[in-house]
């Protein structure tokens, strides 16, 4: 049986598409933005200023580098934790924050991203549909779905990968294996040694990559993208990373995470690793790092101020949003609500 080695570029593997220093710097910068965004949003949630929020702490390399490997006209189908990918793919920061804040407004036009999927794995099928459409229209683009390790046990994952395989559509399944599906460890999720090997069942390419190695993530997504646009079919990428924070703001990982596990992963912090790599190439100084962090905080604070100045979503929107033509039952409820 095939083995599934973990690809690591920082570890010395040079056989993959390389990332230029300029691109690596841009990736680093966006990773800094994402970490600052996380910290800010977490604070806002604790103050009751945003709703439930899923932080990306520890997964910045997988999140940001994968999105950098795409082209603007590619489609992404994100899950609830993919603020970083949405931002890199072109969604303005204001809009990213809007999602967690319940302000009126909508996705920026022209960004090829689906709304974040809250249900697990349902959007993998949508990504296959998007890829099918791209192929039908002969557009040289790909669709990429973002999801976690827990999603791989869903029936939707199976159905999506099967159709992608049989139709050979240009789709990339980007799985961030962060070790935990809320409180369920991967070892309690599947008996398979790796998630990448699940690709075998669908006759598609399966890749396992160090998800905390931004350069490796960039390389394998770039390669998967090339393969897909050249008619080589879909790829399942398992980016092995670690969720250093809670599942969401509604979760307390100390209840289930073995003591010491988190500490063991701190040395693998993707931001520190990429920072050290770039410093080693003498293209990132300590001052640069501080300046980037400060700039990111300023930009995010400004975006929050702009969003908070917007009107909150009107309650009526809840009723109007569901059906194109409101059924009588809902219309009655809306009238009753108005009467109060």
């Amino acid at each position: 049986m095939a083995t599934w080695p973990m690809i690591s570029v920082m570890g010395g593997d040079t056989s993959h598409v390389s990332c230029t220093d300029e691109e690596a710097l841009r990736i680093y910068q966006d990773m800094v933005v994402l970490r600052a965004f996380d910290e800010k949003t977490l604070t806002l949630q604790r103050q009751g200023r945003v709703g439930t929020f899923a932080p990306s702490l520890g997964q910045e390399a997988a999140e940001i580098a994968s999105a950098h490997a795409l082209e603007p006209m590619d489609w992404i189908a994100p899950s609830y934790r993919d603020h970083g990918a949405l931002y890199v793919h072109g969604l303005p920061l204001d809009q990213v924050i809007l999602f967690a804040m319940g302000r009126s407004g909508s996705y920026a036009a022209g960004v090829r991203a689906l709304p974040s999927s809250i249900p697990i794995a349902t959007h993998l099928l949508h990504a296959v549909g998007l890829a099918y459409a791209l192929r039908q229209r002969a557009e040289p683009q790909v669709a990429m779905a973002y999801f976690g390790d827990g999603a791989t046990s869903e029936g939707d994952f199976h159905e999506a990968l099967n159709f992608a395989g049989v139709w050979q559509v240009p789709v990339i399944f980007f799985c961030q294996n962060n070790g935990w599906a809320i409180s369920t460890a991967v070892s309690h999720q599947t008996h398979s040694e790796t998630l990448a090997q699940k690709a075998v069942a669908y006759g598609i390419e399966g890749i396992r990559v160090d998800g905390n190695d931004a350069l490796a993530v960039y390389g394998v997504v770039r390669e998967a993208r090339e393969r897909a646009t050249e008619g080589g079919g879909p790829t399942l990428i398992e980016a092995v990373t670690y969720r250093m924070g809670p599942h969401t703001t509604a979760d307390d990982p100390t209840r289930y995470r073995p003591s010491g596990e988190l500490e063991g992963h701190r040395a693998q912090d993707p931001l520190i690793r990429l920072g050290q790599y770039l410093a080693g190439r003498s293209i990132l100084s300590a001052e640069d790092q501080e300046r980037m962090a400060a700039d990111s905080r300023d930009r995010i604070n400004e975006a929050v101020a702009r969003v908070e100045a917007m009107d909150p979503v009107a309650v009526e929107e809840m009723f109007r949003h569901v059906y194109q033509v409101m059924p009588n039952r809902l219309a009655r409820e809306l009238r009753d609500w108005g009467a109060n």
């Binding site: 029936g155 199976h158 049989v166 090997q197 669908y202 006759g203």
Partner: protein, 352 residues
């Protein structure tokens, strides 16, 4: 393999074939309503696998399950009555063709929805494991079912929890009219098991002896605590998907090619190998093509098997005549029966 077992296989397969052909006849005469999915061509799979199981094992089957029920020794007349929708049927007339169920024989149902058998088998497997019993669930499904999400979710959990489930794929290569390569990039179903770290094999499902042997060793392995296993039996259905499907999408040459491997004929030949016929009979051994024709010709020379098979066929004919008479003379369901039976499930009911 001993003579008695081979003869048993032959009887089982002849019964299976004759039952299904009779059901088709009753259907076309308007005695049976609704759906009817028939098994001719695939007999070796149900016969070989179910005969390898213990009476304490459970069976979960699909909507093409009459033969599984027959081989599980559910009386033919109770199955026929069920097809007729009569109150003497094995499911008291409430199930029909696709929902045969007999808890006494641990026949845990035919299921009409594609992919429905997987989670049910996993659940039964969990209860066996929980009670540390040396039992196994035989879970049947077709090649089309492997793309259902339930397949993925159930096999994942079965492997994770080491459930005693034998997944048996009856790969007849067609999901109604969709040939397997049009719905699966991987056409060897057994390879799917790698994704869950479940051991699996692909076996010739047209050879009843092989089906029996492979099922037997898989069951031993599962019973010894080895966790789930998957067997893919390569087979072929001679008829359309159901009575509503003439199966015209398949090239006639393909159907003939598989007909040449008719499992009943193979078993008959195996019998003949153990008891070699006379020279003249060997000389008249026909070329492979349509089943019934082959069986008739193979025994035309008049060696002892001919009599044997004729006796079997006569017995079976009588059993089926009685089954049909029983079904016809049984009372139909009333509306009151339906209301009564619809309220028969109770909270905390233990089925087995």
């Amino acid at each position: 393999m001993d003579h008695e077992r081979l003869q048993g296989f032959l009887y089982d397969m002849l019964l299976a074939r004759a039952f299904e052909e009779r059901a088709a006849q009753e259907y076309t005469q308007g005695h049976i309503a609704g759906f009817l999915h028939l098994y001719p061509g695939e007999e070796a799979v149900a016969v070989g696998s179910i005969r390898a199981a213990e009476p304490s094992d459970y069976i979960v089957s699909t909507y093409r399950e009459h033969v599984h029920a027959l081989i599980r020794d559910i009386e033919p007349k109770k199955i026929m009555a069920e097809l007729y929708g009569k109150s003497t049927g094995v499911s008291r007339g409430m199930g029909g063709s696709m929902h045969l169920f007999d808890k006494e024989r641990r026949f845990m149902g035919g299921y009409a929805i594609v992919g429905e058998t997987f989670p049910i088998a996993a659940g039964i497997g969990y209860s066996i494991l929980y009670r540390h019993l040396p039992e196994v669930v035989l879970c049947y499904f077709g090649d089309g079912a492997v793309n259902q999400g339930t397949f993925h979710e159930s096999l994942n959990m079965a492997a994770l929890w080491k459930l005693p489930v034998l997944f048996i794929c009856e790969n007849n290569h067609y999901q109604i009219g969709t040939e397997i390569h049009r719905h699966s990039a991987v056409v060897d179903v057994y390879k799917r098991a790698a994704s869950y770290a479940i051991p699996a094999e692909q076996v010739d499902g047209m050879d009843v002896e092989q089906v029996y042997a492979h099922t037997h060793s898989a069951l031993d392995r599962i019973r010894a605590g080895g966790g789930p296993y998957l067997l893919e039996f390569q087979t072929y259905r001679y008829r359309g998907h159901s009575m509503a499907d003439p199966g015209a999408y398949r090239p006639p040459a393909e159907v003939r090619a598989f007909g040449g491997q008719d499992p009943i004929l193979l078993a008959t030949r195996e019998l003949a190998r153990h008891n070699p016929p006379s020279k003249s009979a060997q000389a008249s051994d026909p070329a492979m093509d349509v089943i019934q024709q082959h069986i008739d010709k193979g025994f035309a020379a008049g060696h002892w098997q001919q009599e044997d098979v004729a006796t079997m066929k006569a017995q079976i004919q009588q059993i089926l005549d009685e089954a049909v008479a029983f079904a016809q003379s049984s009372p139909s369901l009333s509306m009151d029966d339906a209301v009564y039976l619809a309220n028969q499930n109770h909270a905390h009911e233990v089925l087995f």
